[in-house]
Symmetry: C2
Subunit: 567 residues, 2 copies
């Protein structure tokens, strides 16, 4: 490699981080190399990084500009992002002639393959490190495309997304080195000479990978697929959501810069922005060059991809109906505040936010005595109201509604049943045009068919249903049916009964859903930590893959063997 | 477990074998715990096993009987196998009412899941060990269903198949224990108490796995999927090829016996035999209970499964067009004898047998001087004739044609071009009704479109094409096109040029095919060794999976996490 970044230096710098990631995916203990406190950035020790004001300035400087990535086959510059906070970004991005771009992306595959798994891993880690240094810039990019509040955009879009990317690199690396580069095979033949073969094993990428980004978590949901594919030898074409281009365009920019400096073809990573309504994902997804697809978004398009993109390995995260079973608790206030936070964070616009709260109509037992269904619902509504009573705090938690569809669902939800918690409009002094609304909670009778139509569908956004069920046993059966038929990214349960806990666990084991039990403190059902928690299970209709495990990386490459006689 | 076989004893007995298998899939060195010499069996030391005569007697005793596996939902007994050697087996097997059988198979899943990865692995190893003890019986079962000659049926159907089963168990085990059973996660919170969660991780099977067996290698091609699915917690329904039921019925019998003795539900493994022409594979494959499918057979049905069985993970080995590039050699006689053996073994009825021999029309250089295209073809034809000149030896190598379709293709091949090696009928004194024919070799001009129609299709059976190409470079390009468009289980090449070797290697790396270079001794391109060689690549149209790697096992189960606050 005649390059500014030598393999040697990259390995020296990043191998310890890779090793720690490899260790942590085995222990599942807590670890992250990416600080989640804003003030940890801007330091001049170690790798320079943008401080909070520098990140803001970098973002402001991007507004109204053209992000020219120098990609082959660029036939136009397009863009039209409008921040959920009301400002027009005015940024344009390269529009690709894919007949030119896709072959150009394949050109660098051989050198990328020949670099080997370790060099690919440390190049990926260098990309992540440079993204990490610009975390404050990415925070604004994520905030003004997803509508997340700043702190969440900073953490989930920055260090947590980088964690998930690093986790994918670690899985990809260890999967590729399970088979040695070479082996001598010597089979005894009794008194005759043994049969001897020299064997070489090479992990080879499948072809161009397509990342179809989402609106709400462009980096967090995008990095696992992007880095898993790149680390296993595949070029990656990034097709961002038209409303959330910037965070992924910056990611592509950094990746291209690092690849070039390390002596590789920068076209191994490229962006495909689109014109409004162009819908290029459908066209790209069935191109013969596309061998891998990662997608986060609607069930309808995820199913379409799984059905039609038959030439590719397709990894999808789709919609689900997340459920919390409320049977009993010995920390009633903790339960209420924990759930209130879960329902409020980013206005319920997380694929992991609970939707259905299943509460026995006879009520539950708590450390504050028995509570009727109505009391539990009222107390929970009050907990949400209390949490969001202060507008500044509400803005910091809720962010903005990501698009008009969410607001329409929110408005329609009030018609679905008795409103236990009405929505409230919050004004945002910094961004007067932002649409900020507190969550709505609707009471439904689990036994009524018209109610079932509501609670058995995903209602993405700040809407939850307090579903009255006949008993905890009824709740457990409804949980089973919901996960089986609709899928779930998360399941929660509150119970002091070991028997109930076991029944809920058994449903989650049989229907393949990730369960959080009795969360009453500072961990929320909608949050997962890289290296330790799996995001989704890959075994129910909400997603066909989990972030991140062996199955997420193992089929992104194949091992080619060359064997020869040793004379 | 209140069982005859305790987990403790099974672990004590089989853990060393599992550990050795785990080590070998990492080193890819030679190893097998299953003796491949017939005389190694029948010993009374260690585990008793059937001797050669005992195995024959056991097989003979099966003829004309009913194999009653005691399965729920058995509504009939069916069968109609006729040995390619001419004898009617007269054995009947349970026909299943799947509406009864499938739910019964799911009933044992919970206990099987709760047993954990290690116990599942050693139960699988006990099944393999009991099959191993009956290897001589299985040899006849494989011989009289596949048409393989005895020695091949013994080795490939016995120890080599058992190796592939064990390999799958090893991969399945290690994949499941990558994530620990439990973890404590403690995230620092500055001066506040850390956030602490206790986490449990459980590998859970996906559901009932369907193994669709093949006619030619019922055990060798069946065991990887069967044991990979069972070891990862899934019940396995075995749907054998109607002409090759017995080897898999015996396998199911042993599996059920071991499962019951170990205290598990024997219905975790069951057989689905069918009436002639019933075609139950299509019905079973799309049942909602079926979550995994392993299939070996035609491209048409493999593609059908991949397209229609959308509720399942589908692993297919289909047809390909295997190619050998002949550029030059410094061991001409070794090359000829090696290729002659490859073309003759089991009458070319292996998915790995070479079909197209690409030879420059200007000829090749050898240690015996330059050889023209015609000379190479004539010498190779003579090598085959010499190898098969003695009828006893011919019978021992060729076996019998597995079905009338193969014979029809063989007969038709003579019309495709100039016959360089005509087929010859061989009589088998032991089995006068066996159809035994030596391979045919046909000369084709690679540049002619009508020839292309022949050599660009799989002609399964003892037919090879000596394709005249313009140059080695032309051969390499034709190799690339063949693998890309038709797929290949194997690629061979003979060359003394490092440059040509690299060009062929590069094609195999880019098109994802397994390459054997310059084989002139006792290893053949159509043979792969478990624990060391991959069978297929999973990256070209011949197969979507390789035997055996991480991707073959990783998506047969999911990991469910239960996390809770530690108060």
């Amino acid at each position: 490699m005649a390059a500014d970044l030598t393999a040697h230096d990259l390995i020296a710098q990043h191998r310890p981080t890779l090793d720690k990631a490899l260790e942590t995916i085995r222990t599942r203990a807590y670890w992250s190399p990416h600080p989640e406190h804003p003030k940890a950035y801007g330091d001049t020790e170690g790798r320079p990084s943008l401080s909070m004001p520098e990140g803001k300035a970098a973002f402001d400087a991007l507004l109204g500009t053209r992000v020219d990535l120098g990609q082959p086959g660029t036939d136009d510059f397009v863009g039209g992002e409008v921040s959920p906070y009301g400002i027009e970004l005015g940024i344009t991005y390269p529009h690709a002639d894919v007949d030119t771009l896709l072959p150009a992306m394949r050109a660098g595959m051989r050198a990328w393959r020949e670099a080997g798994a370790e060099v690919r891993a440390v190049v990926c880690l260098e990309i992540l490190a440079r993204i990490g240094a610009r975390t404050h810039e990415f925070a604004h990019a994520v905030m003004h495309t997803s509508g997340q509040a700043f702190m969440m955009a900073f953490q989930a879009g920055g260090p947590h997304a980088q964690d998930r990317g690093l986790e994918a690199v670690a899985y990809a690396y260890v999967e590729q080195v399970r088979t040695p580069d070479t082996a001598e095979w010597s089979k005894p033949q009794g008194k005759r000479d043994p049969l001897v073969l020299a064997k070489e094993f090479t992990p080879v990428g499948r072809g161009v990978a397509l990342l179809i980004g989402c609106n709400t978590f462009p980096t967090w949901n995008g990095y696992p697929g992007l880095f898993a594919s790149l680390a296993t030898g595949n070029p990656v074409l990034v097709k961002p959501h038209p409303r959330a281009v910037l965070p992924l365009a910056l990611t592509v920019q950094v990746a291209r810069e690092v690849l070039a400096e390390a002596g590789f073809d920068p076209n191994l990573v490229a962006l495909a922005a689109e014109r409004p309504g162009e819908g290029i994902a459908k066209t790209l997804a069935v191109r013969p060059e596309i061998k891998i697809i990662d997608y986060t978004g609607s069930t309808a398009f995820g199913d379409w991809l799984e059905t039609h993109a038959r030439q590719a390995q397709v990894y999808t995260e789709k919609a689900g109906v997340n459920t919390v079973v409320i049977d009993s608790t010995d920390r009633y206030q903790g339960m209420l505040s924990n759930l209130a936070f879960s329902l409020s964070l980013y206005s319920g616009q997380m694929c992991t936010t609970p939707q259905n709260l299943l509460i026995p109509r006879e009520g539950i037992t708590t450390d504050e005595g028995p509570k009727s269904y109505d009391e539990v619902v009222a107390d929970l509504a009050q907990a949400v109201s209390g949490l969001l009573g202060d507008d500044a705090r509400a803005n910091a938690l809720l962010g903005a509604l990501v698009n008009p569809d969410v607001k329409a669902r929110l408005d329609a939800a009030a018609g679905l049943g008795e409103v236990a918690l009405p929505t409230r409009e919050i004004s945002n002094p910094d961004f007067p045009d932002a649409v900020v609304r507190t969550p709505v909670m609707v009471k439904l009778d689990g036994a009524k068919p018209d109610a079932e139509a509501a609670y058995m569908s995903e209602c993405f956004g700040p809407v939850s249903f307090a579903v009255a069920v006949d008993s905890t046993q009824d709740a457990v059966e409804l949980l089973r049916r919901t996960v089986r038929e609709k899928g779930a990214m998360t399941v929660g349960a509150y119970t002091t009964s070991e028997e109930v806990a076991q029944a809920v666990e058994e449903v989650c084991l049989e229907e393949c859903a990730q369960l959080s039990l009795n969360l009453t403190g500072g961990v929320y059902v909608n949050q997962t930590a890289a290296f330790s928690d799996f995001h989704g299970s890959g075994g129910n209709p909400a997603a066909n893959a989990a972030l991140c495990d062996g199955a997420f990386v193992a089929n992104r490459f194949r091992v080619v063997e060359v064997r020869r006689e040793t004379v």
